[in-house]
Amino acid sequence: MILPKWADVVLIPLINLFLALFVSGLVVLLIGEDPVNAMKIMVKGAVGSTYGWGYTLFYATNFIFTGLAVAVAFHARLFNIGGEGQAQLGALGVALVCLALPWPHWTLVLPFSILGGALFGAAWAAIPAYLQARRGSHIVITTIMFNYIAYALLVYLLLGALKAPGMAPESPRFPAGTFLPNARDVFDMLGINFARSPLNVSFVLALIACFLIWLMLWRTRLGYEIRAYGQSEPAAIYAGISPFRITMIVMLISGALAGLMGVNAVQGEAQRLLQDNVLGAGFVGIAVALMGRSHPVGVLIAAVLFGALYQGGAELEFETNVPREMVLVIQALVILFTGALDNMVRGPVEGAFLRLGRRPAPGAAAE
């Protein structure tokens, strides 16, 4: 290990982020806007008020779930890019639970909506997982195709069985007893003034998920087997670890995590099932997992960052002539620099560390 750990997990992502923002600034300059002002608006919009924080963390909640979903699968060297579809199905599961009964209180419905979201998301991941584990159909291909099927399925249901009276292809509104307390309600009880925003208790759920996934990966036999399998399949088989079992379990966990996004997006905010309940969060999850180096803490930080980008971007669009697409460009640059161009920064940083900390080690030798 050439780099100290802190440089690996903090310094390099920060440099990458800075580079991405710098290039974004150049692009903003090119379309004739002031990059410094644009940056101010974005930062202020994302974290400059409780309103900004509310939205930032609301988006971050979605990204934590989809980011964890991708990260867990990464540890078994499975590339689950079906977060979109699994989250859509999770949303369906949550909606079915919420619509099933005239629920009296959110604390009663939440365990069941969690279960519904997780089960539906897991089930949607189970089919590609089985095809991968038994028949060798590549999971990247199958999961992305399942995204389209999920969208088609939701449209079908929202034009038929689940359609609310009226023009819009959406489900009826959930009963009021299912509404989750939002940040404003919670902070009001503490006597703190927090602006109205969709941030709700699902955020706490996401934090718990981060902790549980960390515990699972690094403190349980299952996590040990998942990581071993991800590092080397022949070694895993040598150790008596069944590739079929690990592939299935990992993808079920991954799909369940993606599905849990429905609790935040559908039960927490929309309060009805829409045609698109995910809004690209499934794909952002890939970037979040990449940037967070598949570690739950990294995922948490990256998710908040991407939440801020989303919220700041929305403000930017609102206050200037910078178009919505510009925000997508900035996100894409962040993904490009943190994911694809990581080694571009890593080389020089490692070189710098070697020059700084060079100490001769007599007797040490390598082939």
Binding site: S232, A235, R359, A364, A365, A366
Partner: protein
């Protein structure tokens, strides 16, 4: 004498980060000699040769070729300077013919046909000159390893190499093939070529070289005339202390049969039958050594016994039958029944290179209650256990927080052996116990295996090193083409007989001279069906 050395290196140093791989190396290789370079894994031999071949740039030092100072920034420059390299892992295009491989990278002009015609003519001349007979139109994938190696040598000669570097050339050869290689090298020397032979096998150094240089920990510790030294002295120079080259052991006291294998067959993914009816027994308190050239079914035998592969036939352990279909058993259940397995390829199977040492010590045994506390793993217990094993097996560095890839080959193997032997298994399966392991550690590993056998356990050992088979085994079985060619007792046989059996020649042909057999070998040994 005023002849300039073919190669002279002065003050070569190379560091990788904090690791000094080569330190102030000076060496003179005289033209028309075979110069051996010997040293343990990690001594810096390969780094030095990579500098000479232009793969790495030295931090300091100078290279003189034929007395002239020469810069070698890349392999093109090395070839231009007349240096040819035969790598340990051949760099041949499998589905090209011999001729196409020889010409590859040295084509003259856009049209291939003239170069091929020229190469064909030259190949015929070289074959006549150096006994390097190879069919120029054969596909590489149809040739045995011995023949493939000849193609590598031909490639270098085609590029007019005057200096030939061979990196561990005999690792994949049968003894007879190795002998033939040495005759080729002697032929090249007689023609005035200079040869550098990198190896860790003392026997080869003694047999074929004129001069030998010893490397240890990145430094050149000695250069001596081969005729004026001995294997013991070289071993001591390599390791830095006195080494036992032979294993001290008392005669075996075999007990009841622990493992019984009857008519075992294995078909691989491609439908090729890798084991064609293998039957053998291993008793308590004995070491059965399986000799053979790599790729003749030994790997599959270990894997099927270890639960990694499925097969058909009948296997019993302590009288109880083991399921071979994979439906009711895997590597985990084999362990639970007292089979420990040190796999042939520790990088691919035995270790997770990116895991810490302590994580690797639990590998395969992670369900053991002593490493667990309820739902969670008891990592503290595992680390304490790892520290104990590291201390007992003298693993260096003695740090359970190092990732496995940061240990040298010998220490990695010690980690695996510590993990498997400390389970006190009824049966130990061990493949290539000392591959890529330095001499000092070999001695230790051999002692551990013998100690297990003396404790009344059964050991099934697979090795391609005949020395190892002969010195450790209580009984020797030779495998060829998925079958057991026969069994011998170590004191009643010798390398020559085993070598012939490894080449598929049964004992009826005992009187056939080695040379005649060797001439036929290239086409049969190791050739893929």
């Amino acid at each position: 004498m005023t002849t300039a050395p073919a190669i002279e290196l002065k003050g070569i140093s190379k560091a990788f980060g904090p690791v000094q791989a080569n330190k102030d190396i000076n060496i003179r290789v005289m033209p028309g000699t075979i110069h051996g370079i010997i040293g343990e894994n990690g001594a810096g031999k390969s780094t030095l040769m990579s500098i000479l071949y232009g793969f790495y740039k030295a931090d300091a030092g100078e290279i003189f070729i034929g007395g002239k100072k020469t810069a070698i920034p890349d392999s093109q420059a090395a070839i231009a300077a007349g240096i040819g390299m035969v790598f340990q892992h051949f760099k041949l295009v499998e589905n090209f013919t011999v001729l196409e491989n020889v010409v590859l990278g040295a084509e003259e002009g856009a049209w291939l046909t003239p170069s091929l015609a020229k190469a064909r003519k030259l190949l015929t001349e070289l074959a006549a000159e150096y006994e390097l007979n190879v069919d120029p139109d054969a596909l590489i994938q149809d040739l045995g390893v011995g023949m493939q190696q000849r193609v590598e040598i031909l490639k270098a000669l085609y590029r007019q190499a005057e200096i030939l570097i061979l990196d561990e050339p005999t690792g994949v050869l049968t003894p007879a093939e190795a002998d033939h290689l040495f005759r080729i090298l002697e032929g090249l020397r007689a023609q005035g070529k200079t040869i550098i032979l990198i190896t860790h096998k003392l026997r080869e150094i003694m047999e074929v070289t004129d001069t030998v240089s010893v490397m240890r920990r990145g430094e050149m510790t000695a250069t001596v005339k081969t005729a004026e030294t001995s294997p013991e002295l070289l071993a001591e120079l390599m390791v830095g202390r006195k080494v036992l080259l032979r294993v001290d052991k008392v005669p075996a006291k075999p007990g009841k049969t622990v493992l019984s294998v009857d008519n075992l067959r294995v078909v691989d993914d491609k439908g090729v039958e890798r084991l064609r009816g293998v039957s053998l027994n291993v008793r308590a308190g004995e070491i059965l050594g399986i000799a053979g050239v790599a790729g003749n079914g030994q790997s599959e035998l270990l894997q099927v016994l270890g639960g990694i592969r499925t097969g058909t036939g009948r296997i019993t352990l302590n009288g109880e039958e083991i399921d071979l279909t994979g439906k009711h058993s895997d590597a985990g259940t084999r362990r639970a029944r007292g089979i420990a397995h040190v796999p042939e390829d520790r990088h691919r199977e035995g270790l997770i290179l990116d895991f810490f040492a302590w994580e690797n010590v639990g590998f395969g045994y992670h369900h053991d209650p002593k490493y667990n506390r309820g739902l969670l793993m008891d990592n503290d217990a595992l680390r304490r256990d790892t520290e104990a094993k590291i201390a007992k097996f003298d693993v260096r560095p003695a740090d359970c927080w190092q990732t496995a890839k940061n240990f040298s080959g010998g220490n990695q193997q010690k980690l695996v052996i510590a993990r498997e032997l400390e389970r006190n298994p009824d049966l130990l399966l061990i493949g290539q116990p000392t591959r890529g392991v330095d001499i000092g550690a070999i001695e230790f590993i051999h002692q551990q295996i013998v100690a297990l056998r003396d404790a009344g356990k059964a050991v099934l050992m697979v090795s391609v090193e005949l020395d190892e088979i002969l010195s450790l085994s209580d009984r020797i079985a030779v495998m060829f083409d998925g079958r057991i060619m026969g069994e011998r007792l170590p004191h009643e046989t010798n390398e020559r007989e085993l070598g012939l059996m490894m080449a598929g020649i049964t004992d009826t042909d005992r009187d056939v001279p080695v040379q005649e057999v060797a001439a036929n070998l290239g086409h049969t040994v190791g050739a893929k069906p």
